[in-house]
Each structure stands twice: as structure tokens, then as C-alpha cells.
């Protein structure tokens, strides 16, 4: 069972190198992260973009073993990346400097894209002091206000991430403000419905509990005081958030107030997609690449 990013990096380094297709790598911080990942033996980069701009950066940053595919048109870069994955020449995709909407349009193209399930979703993996496991939180990045079916898909998408950590039957906590089921708090309604869906085998190999409040999830003490016996307390692998805001704010709170380490990956396509923000540190970038590379 992987419980830290150090272990994720080690596992990624010891496994067969993943061929990472990068959509427009003409940026210093992008090439820097790739150079580190390549040096650790995690990836074999395939850089799609303007060769005239990329090649000098590759030299400057000592990125070895990179294959460069020349393409200057943004839409063309997106399409080329997708066809490399579809043709089996690449294992996973990463957004470089290409605009997100252009890349996503190529990914979501009904005929020539990378669609697998019904929905792409974002999974943030958190390593934080006080929680003994890696926590896969979803969705703080893509799906704004998921309905019940969409939440079922979010759980399925996150399951592949938890499986990569060695959680064969991931424990999924559907968080809410309280444990009481009330129509006035629709997330509590969704939570019990997801519990039943899991019980009926509709969500694959997972155990789902909810609604569960964050204190019960994070503290045996709080659970005890509230008289709640939960298998999820300090042991959930996946945390399903009611909406994008809760997840986004929670993860950023952990990063900035609790010094948590975080990596992110987009799931639901035929391969994991690394989609980083400019504000992400080099560490986050490296960890996200390592994370994507261990997902089957």
C-alpha cells in the first residue's frame, strides 16, 4: 500500500517507463519537471509542439531521451497528441502550454478523442500529516455540481487511482455537513443512494459510506463523541465531495494551511491526463507525473 508521494515516485521509477505525450512543451517549468521525471526513470517524453522553441529548452534543461514532434498549429498539436495515444505510441497525456479548451476538445472528440466513460473528472491526491493514507479527493477541478449518476462515475474514475495505491477495494466516504439524511441537504440524499448502489454492486469493487461529516472522517475522538462507528475514520481511500467548491476549497486549505502535498490527475479518458496549473510548484508537477504513470 502506497502511503506517500515518495513511495509513488519510487514505484514509478522502478516500473517500466511511461511514454508521456506533452501538448506544447515550450515552457521552462514544463521542461524542468519533465527533465526531473525522465532522470528518475519515470517517463520517456514525447514533446509535441514548435521544435524551434522546444529543442533549445530541452538542451538547456538537460532533458535527455526526448522525442520531439514538430507541429505549430494549436489545434494540430492537440490532434497529434491524441493520435499518438490512440495509435499506442504514448501511454499518458500531459498539458504543456497548449490552452486547456483546445486540448479538452481534442480529448472529448466523439470519434477521434480519448473518451472512455461518460465523464472526465479530476482527482486530487493528498498526503497530509494526521491522515495515515493517501486521500484521493474528487472532484475539485472539473465537474461542478454532479448529479447521482455523475457521482457514480466520479467514484469509478477515482477507484482506478486508489487501486494504483494498492487499495483493491477502496473505501469511499461521501462527505456532508452532517450524518443525518435530509432533503434540505441533497448531498446527504445522494450519499445514501450511493451507499445502496455500492451494496447492489453497481459501483464495482468499492465500499461506500455516507453521509459522513469531516470530523468523523478525520478523528476517532470526534466519531466516538458523536457515537458514530465508521469504517471510514482515518481509513477512507476516496473522499467524494458534494460539489466542486467543497473539494477545491478543502484541498487548497490543506495545501496552504496544513502544508499538505498534493498531486492531481484527470481520469475518465482512455489514459490518465496530467493537467497542471502554472501556480503548481515543481514538486507538484513531478508528483503528478509520477502519479499518472502508476495508474493502470
Amino acid at each position: 500500500m502506497l502511503t506517500s508521494f515518495e513511495q509513488i515516485r519510487n514505484q514509478a521509477a522502478s516500473a517500466t517507463k511511461s511514454r508521456l505525450v506533452v501538448a506544447d512543451a515550450a515552457g521552462e517549468s514544463v521542461i524542468d519537471a519533465l527533465a526531473q521525471a525522465a532522470e528518475m526513470g519515470i517517463i520517456e517524453p514525447i514533446l509535441v509542439g514548435d521544435e524551434g522553441k522546444i529543442a533549445p529548452l530541452v538542451d538547456d534543461m538537460n532533458l535527455s531521451g526526448a522525442r520531439i514532434i514538430h507541429e505549430t498549429d494549436p489545434v494540430g498539436i492537440g490532434k497529434k497528441c491524441i493520435s499518438l495515444i490512440r495509435d499506442g505510441e504514448g501511454d499518458m497525456l500531459m498539458k504543456g502550454k497548449l490552452a486547456t479548451p483546445i486540448l479538452m476538445k481534442a480529448v472529448l472528440d466523439k470519434r477521434n478523442g480519448l473518451r472512455k466513460g461518460k465523464l472526465l473528472s479530476h482527482v486530487a491526491v493528498v498526503e497530509v500529516k494526521g491522515y495515515p493514507k493517501l486521500m484521493a479527493m474528487t472532484d475539485g477541478g472539473i465537474v461542478i455540481l454532479p448529479d447521482l449518476s455523475e457521482k457514480a462515475t466520479l467514484i469509478r474514475n477515482a477507484t482506478a487511482v486508489a487501486n494504483a495505491f494498492g487499495a483493491d477495494v477502496p473505501k469511499v466516504a461521501c462527505i456532508a455537513a452532517i450524518e443525518k439524511i435530509s432533503e434540505k441537504q441533497p448531498e446527504t440524499i445522494h450519499a445514501v443512494q450511493l451507499v445502496k448502489m455500492a451494496e447492489r454492486g453497481q459501483l464495482g469493487k468499492v465500499v461506500v459510506e455516507g453521509p459522513i461529516a469531516m470530523d468523523v472522517l478525520l478523528s476517532h475522538e470526534a466519531a466516538k463523541v458523536k457515537g458514530i462507528q465508521s469504517d471510514m475514520t482515518l481509513d477512507a481511500d476516496i473522499v467524494l465531495s458534494p460539489n466542486i467548491a467543497v473539494c477545491n476549497i478543502f484541498v487548497k486549505g490543506l495545501i496552504y494551511l496544513a502544508k499538505a502535498k498534493v498531486a492531481g490527475v484527470v481520469m475518465g479518458a482512455t489514459c490518465p491526463i496530467v493537467l497542471l496549473s502554472r501556480a503548481d510548484t515543481a514538486e507538484v508537477k513531478l508528483d503528478s507525473i509520477a502519479l499518472a504513470s502508476i495508474i493502470k
Partner: protein, 297 residues
């Protein structure tokens, strides 16, 4: 409770109970309460115009000297007079005779003088089914048309109180739909999952509620096993909560008309049970309804 004999026995054991019969000037109703009297279940107070009651009694060949009559010459007021008899503690069960259903229900629902206890009234039927090892409850086949989630909670509570009166302490309630999987295109499966969650969270007390179930895996242990459904309720339900009136009504009539089953039906959610028999009921069903009313009064 395995069969109606046990129900009759229970009703007989509670002595001194009385029925308030609203609109006693009807042969069918008089015959039903006469049987209840003769078999030691309960005596009745007959409400209506004495003159008319006497005509019906003569036709039914019933000796009225064994009955108390409350004279109510105003036909529109019969139901409220009958309700008052219950409210005043003179009778334990209200029964509908020859009065309009609308007047009868209005009298029950009147806020000051009525009998409403719960948030809503619901209809409860108990079936004696030869192929099932115990009596099986069905709700709601007659009153609530398309209950919301919270109305379903009250309908369950109302029915559960009947089981408690029959000493079935933790009835198994199956929320039945077309399938046992949760499917957002079938809202009743979503409600069922929530009701199951509320039961697990202790928000529905005195019963164990589960669902969604198909009817097969709610009442047949083998069907439940085949679908790998676990839990106390699967294959062993005491009560079937139907998603709406159509399903409940068709289930009711299927069991009664194609299955040849007798049933006992009462209105619950009131301070005293209300017996509402239909002329189409078998004599045994009428007797069972009165017995159920007395047994839970």
C-alpha cells in the same frame, strides 16, 4: 403472526371493545358487526336514523336489542356523530357503513373534532397468503396517490405502528420497485435507497427498512439469494411499501382477485383505527378488517 386465525384470537382476547358504525342502515355492515358480536370480537354502537336501521336489521334478521343506537336523523351529520363517539371514548374503532366516503373522511380529518394523529392518513392492508409463511402488509392502496419521500416515511411509520400492536417488534419493510438496483431514471429506486439509509441511520424507528427490491426478492429467499441480496429484509418482508397508489392497488387486487387471498384493511395515522370495508370484500375479509381494527385499538 402466521394467519388470520391468530389475528381473530388476538382480537377476541381483548374484551370490552366497541365499534362505532357510521351509517348502520345497511344490511352488509350490520351483518359484519353482528358476526363480530357473535364471535366475541366486539359490540357495536349503531349511528344513523333509528327508523332506517330497524328496516335494515329486519332484512338482515338481526336482533337490535343487543345494540346501542345513537339517533342521528341528519344524514350529513352521521359521520361526525360516529367520530364523536370514538373521540368521547365510547367506542374504540370507527367503521364506515352507508355514508358517503367524502363526508366520512372529512369527519375524520376535521382538526378539532377529528381523529388525525400522524402527519397524514394512510391505508394499510394485511394479507393472508397461502404461499407466504406469515401475514404480509401492503401500503398504500387507497389514500396517498404519489407520496413524496417524507410522506413515505410517515406511511411506513403508520404501518409499523400496526405491527407493533400485533407484537411484531421490528417489522421488515421492503421498498418495492421494478428492480433492486438504484436507477435515477426510476425515482422510486432512489427513494427506496434513501429510506434504507434513513433506517440504518436510526431516522426511522421500530422497523428495519430496506430497498430497492423487486417484489420477487422481497418475498422469496431464493430470489434474494440469486441476486446476492443480503440484510434482514431480503426475501422475508413483513410489509411491502409500494411506490404509488397504482402499484399498491394493483398488488392488492391481484392478491385478492387472482390470488384468492383474504385481507384485512384499515386506515391508520388516526387516534383510533378506522375500518373501511367494501361491499366487494368477502365475508372473511370484512371480519378480518374488523378484527384487525380491534386488535390494534
Amino acid at each position: 403472526m402466521k394467519n388470520f386465525e391468530a389475528l381473530f384470537e388476538r382480537a377476541r382476547s381483548l374484551s370490552g371493545k366497541k365499534i362505532s358504525l357510521a351509517g348502520a342502515h345497511e344490511v352488509d355492515s350490520l351483518l359484519a358487526v353482528e358476526r363480530a358480536r357473535a364471535e366475541g370480537i366486539a359490540d357495536s354502537i349503531l349511528i344513523g336514523k333509528t327508523e332506517n336501521i330497524e328496516v335494515a336489521a329486519k332484512e338482515a334478521n338481526i336482533d337490535l336489542s343487543k345494540y346501542e343506537i345513537i339517533e342521528e336523523p341528519n344524514e350529513k351529520a352521521i359521520s361526525s356523530t360516529a367520530v364523536k363517539a370514538v373521540k368521547d371514548g365510547r367506542a374504540d374503532v370507527l367503521m364506515k357503513g352507508l355514508v358517503s366516503t367524502a363526508d366520512f373522511m372529512r369527519a375524520i380529518l376535521r382538526s378539532e373534532s377529528g381523529l388525525l394523529k400522524a402527519k397524514l392518513l394512510s391505508h394499510f392492508t394485511l394479507f393472508e397468503i397461502p404461499a407466504y409463511p406469515k401475514l404480509l402488509g401492503v401500503t398504500d392502496a387507497a389514500i396517498n396517490i404519489a407520496p413524496t419521500l417524507m410522506e413515505k416515511v410517515t406511511i411506513i411509520d403508520n404501518a409499523v405502528s400496526v405491527f407493533h400492536k400485533l407484537d411484531i417488534e421490528e417489522p421488515k419493510v421492503a421498498c418495492v420497485c421494478a428492480v433492486e438496483k438504484v436507477n435515477p431514471k426510476m425515482p422510486c429506486t432512489e427513494d427506496a435507497a434513501v429510506l434504507a439509509g434513513m433506517s440504518r441511520a436510526g431516522q426511522i424507528r421500530g422497523a428495519v427498512v430496506d430497498g430497492p427490491f423487486g417484489l420477487d426478492n422481497a418475498v422469496d429467499p431464493d430470489a434474494a439469494k440469486l441476486k446476492k441480496l443480503t440484510g434482514k429484509v431480503a426475501g422475508d418482508a413483513d410489509l411491502i411499501l409500494c411506490p404509488d397508489i397504482e402499484v399498491a392497488n394493483v398488488l392488492y387486487k391481484t392478491l385478492a382477485y387472482l390470488g384468492g387471498c383474504d385481507c384485512a384493511a384499515i386506515v391508520v395515522g388516526t387516534t383510533a383505527p378506522v375500518v373501511l370495508t367494501s361491499r366487494a370484500d368477502t365475508d372473511r375479509s370484512k371480519f378480518a378488517s374488523i378484527s384487525l381494527g380491534i386488535a390494534v385499538s
